[in-house]
């Protein structure tokens, strides 16, 4: 859910339910890396509520678009991490397998 104004779309607070530091901190990281972002931060208003508020202020582009782009970035980063880990594991297993063959 977005809390912003119609006059100025460049700043908004996004309230995400059922999320915690896991996503919010990762998103804060990717948002901060975006040069269009002037300010970004998150808070958990109450520890008993499963909810985070992410504040995004930009240089002019709608905050919603920037957040979407950040999510997209994070997904691409994750996909790259996944494929890299898969590849490293496969290489390691192959190496182990070759070693277990005990070829002299």
């Amino acid at each position: 859910m977005e809390h912003g104004s119609f006059q100025d779309e460049s700043q908004a607070t996004f309230s995400l339910t059922d999320e915690d530091h896991t996503l919010a901190n990762s998103l804060r990281y990717t948002l901060n890396q975006d040069p269009r972002v002037t300010f970004c931060g998150y808070s958990i208003p109450h520890p008993s509520d499963a909810r985070v508020n992410i504040r995004v202020q930009t240089t002019g582009v709608p905050a919603r678009d920037v957040l979407k782009d950040s999510c997209q970035d994070l997904m691409l980063v994750c996909q790259h991490v996944r494929s890299t880990v898969d590849q490293a594991v496969m290489e390691f297993k192959n190496k182990q397998w070759v070693e277990s063959m005990n070829i002299k």
Partner: protein, 462 residues
Amino acid sequence: MKEQKTTKVPVWDLPDVPKGKLPPHLQLQRTRVLCTFDAPTHTESIQYSGAYAAMGVDNSLRLEEFRNNFRVEVIKLTEDDMEFDMIGIDAALANAFRRILIAELPTMAIEKVLVANNTSVIQDEVLAHRLGLIPLKVDPRLFNYMIENDEPNEKNTIVFKLHARCERGSPRIKVTTNELKWLPNGSELILSTEKPTQDSTSKTKTYTSFNCRQDTLPEFLDNPIVPKHDDILIAKLGPGQYVRNFATPLVNETSTNEASAISFTFPCMIESPHVSSNDTFSFGGFIKLAGAVGSGKNEGLNVMGTSGSVGMEIELEAHAVKGVGKTHAKWSPVATAWYRMLPEVVLLQDIEDGMAEELFKKCPVGVFDIEDIGKGSLIVFDQFIDRQLGRKRATVARPRSCTLCRECIRGDDWDKLLSLRRVKDHFIFTIESTGALPPEILFTEAVQILEEKCERVISELS
């Protein structure tokens, strides 16, 4: 007063500010945590893209750059353990993966225990809690979550049976997870609402409603569901019996149907199912006891070790369902998952001879070695240095084993001789699986969950 004309010069036009490159001290603060003798400093990661704009340095993340720099090196991989280096990623993401591994990856764990009989010294709720924590060797991806008002069926519930008894006169026995038997056909206990005198042609309703046997499903055909370890102690049973003294209701014929359902919502649901009269129950001891203490004098526990009694017995059914670690730790797929940043030990100047010897002795984990400068070869250091070999110099041989105890920089200006650091974007990640899934699968599943979270936000925003 004479007017002084000042011309404003932008900072990046000053000759001593290098363009496009951070000065070494800032680069150090950006990429390393410095572990000084009193406290670690520069622990934060500089995330803001414009943090070094004044230096003409762009701190933003470009995917291309990330792709080129990110590396993974597997150090150790066994059935349940994995250690790997993740290089070129921010702590925010590494921590997200760790948090998901611990709290948000699903597994199957025993959630409901139906106790038909428990005359052991271990109470129903304690027993149920112990059962809940047993790791089960089953792929949770093959099951669905049991949502509210869902009937327990073959796609969301696994049923185990446990029936153990210590015979009279025999020594104490240990009940282990070995005795937890999988019931592929679901519960065998009949629902209390069902009348026992129903005609035998219709299927009597039990606590689960399975449409087919689980062991006929292709994924479990040659892969029966068992606890991960078969030697986990659940309870100990002795030849004597601890009997709860329910004085009056038990002498009554109808008493078994009046047994109250005890339920504990956390961490395990226990129910005392109503047992139909043809179920075998060792009530001999009960009736005798109840008759003897009809006056209600002996309230509480009574040990029945005398003649006419039977040994302790546990008969129960355990229902496992799918869940996540943030609900209860029993669903966590990892014993633990953690990371540490790569330690870096830098000798700021040559440390030789007596100092080298002292440094070697200072380190409790053997980070340093001593090198013989004269010969240029490494000598095995054993208690003392052979002084005839000439000059010695300390080297950093095993920085990975450094625990950053800071013993080496304690005392007389040692902190000026060497510097302890941690590399901010190099994580030594360790995953210890509890056995439901191998650790490498767990990690990729965790990354996938983070992706799904992003997807959810995107779809909510558009």
